[in-house]
């Protein structure tokens, strides 16, 4: 094998890195529109799943238009904020702002059983990366109608179990208020008794994800406290 000078090696590396960087940024720019479109469909699909409407990528748009009737943005005092599209609010960016400046999106939906529900997006931290999802509440603003959770990189079989139906269906019918005080839903290690209206079973081997999920639901729903209390039946 031919010997190369240090100078050659440096130049070779620089040329290689620069051309690779140019190639990759070009690809990323060209593919971005298609990728964003996919993420949008995914978001709608997750929202539909939180009101227990199973959707495929093909019929998501159609079902979304059918079931999601309205969307609006609140501030932490429960007042309507105009001029912001709820769908485009990025929760992660909002969470970095002080509470009084945060935009809190709400979606209204009417599933087939005639229930009028609101959908609240939630976002938090798991063990390895972000967790996100949607919690839908019945019109009493207290009973959970359905949930959908997803994650970026939790361990398959352990933390990743949060987006399976058996785990998510535990949330149906749980209450987030106890009279007027906000309790949220606890994800309990070692299991929650059947009669517990504020608790669900945690995931064995996924304690940190379970805890992250619990604080995600608590933190995000708490911000809607004033609005929820005001609109309770």
């Amino acid at each position: 094998m031919k010997q190369f000078s240090n100078r050659y090696i440096f130049i070779f590396s620089i040329v290689m890195v620069v051309s690779v960087a140019a190639l990759l940024s070009l690809a990323a720019t060209l593919l971005q529109p298609a990728q964003e479109r996919n993420l949008e469909v995914e978001k709608k699909k997750n929202m539909l799943e939180s009101i227990n409407v199973p959707a495929t990528r093909e019929n998501t748009e159609e079902l979304y238009d059918k079931y999601i009737t309205e969307s609006f943005v609140l501030n932490s005092r429960g007042e309507l904020v105009s001029g912001v599209d709820a769908f485009t609010v990025v929760i992660k960016n909002e969470q970095k702002k002080p509470l009084e400046d945060q935009s809190l999106p709400v979606f209204r939906a009417e599933p087939d059983d005639g229930e009028k529900v609101i959908i609240i997006p939630v976002e938090g931290k798991g063990l390895w990366g972000p967790l996100y999802g949607y919690v839908s509440l019945k019109s009493d603003m207290n009973t959970i109608y359905g949930v959908n959770f997803d994650h970026k990189s939790e361990t398959p079989g352990l933390g990743a179990e949060i987006n399976t139906t058996p785990f998510e269906s535990q949330f149906h019918g749980k209450k987030i208020f106890d009279n007027d005080s906000f309790i949220s839903v606890q994800v309990l290690k070692g299991g929650a008794p059947e009669s517990d209206i504020h608790g669900v079973d945690g995931i064995s081997g996924g304690t940190i994800t379970s805890n992250g999920l619990q604080s995600m639901i608590f933190d995000c729903l708490q911000k809607y406290n004033i609005y929820l209390l005001k609109n309770r039946i």
């Binding site: 090696i9 590396s13 290689m16 690779v20 990759l24 990528r57």
Partner: protein, 216 residues
């Protein structure tokens, strides 16, 4: 040197590069490389096929790139250069999957990124592309990628059939009425260890047929 340049594109030697990885030089069952991803993506047929295609594309094109550059790559930094080439290809594949087959990219999630660490690719670059011309290297890449893919598809076919009762998402067992005869989908087949057992069975089958593979 001159003789070799006139060699036809699909000479016997080149064809051997393409076919050997399916049989006596299979990357999974003979070289025992790339096992980790073989366990992870073989629960269903669809991700297995996409993974097989992705790995084939990455192997072939990084082989091609490295073989074309082989005379200019300084020996002292060759591993880094190989890694840069592989990583670039993998990121490109990942971006394409995200743009055009989002569901699959979600299913494969971390495993696409892990193609970078798939020992088959690095192995082929180091063992073949660094010492051969671009065209044979390209064929070698396709051969090895496809040989890897073949095992993936075979394993995932049985795992999907026995574990979920479907083939490529189509409920075969249900349509055939096997479930009515009392068969239930075997949950254990879905777990990663069973993939290892399937790979083991394939190795056993292969070695019992071609005795030359058995170590003395």
């Amino acid at each position: 040197m001159d003789n070799q340049e006139k060699e036809p594109m699909f000479s016997a030697k080149n064809l051997k590069l393409l076919t050997e990885p399916f049989g006596i030089n299979n990357p999974i069952t003979v070289q025992v490389l790339g096992i980790c991803s073989a366990l992870a993506v073989t629960v269903k047929l669809k991700p297995a096929i996409v993974m097989a295609l992705s790995v084939t594309i990455v192997t072939a094109f990084s082989n091609l790139a490295i073989a074309a550059l082989r005379k200019y790559i300084p020996d002292r930094i060759r591993i880094i250069v190989q890694l840069v080439v592989i990583a670039t290809m993998v990121i490109l594949v990942d971006q394409l999957l995200k743009a055009y087959v989002f569901d699959v990219s979600k299913q494969l999630s971390v495993f696409v990124g892990l193609i970078i660490t798939n020992c088959i690719i690095m192995g082929r670059l180091e063992a073949f592309a660094m010492a051969n011309k671009p065209w044979p290297s390209f064929i070698d890449g396709i051969g090895n990628g496809a040989g890897y893919g073949l095992i993936l598809v075979v394993v995932s076919f049985f795992r999907e059939l026995l574990g979920s009762g479907t083939i490529y998402g189509y409920p075969v067992l249900e349509k055939l009425g096997i479930f009515n005869l009392g068969y239930e989908s075997n949950g254990m087949v879905i777990l990663p260890p069973m993939a290892l057992i399937f790979v083991g069975l394939i190795i056993w089958f292969q070695r019992s047929r071609s005795k030359s593979l058995i170590e003395k």
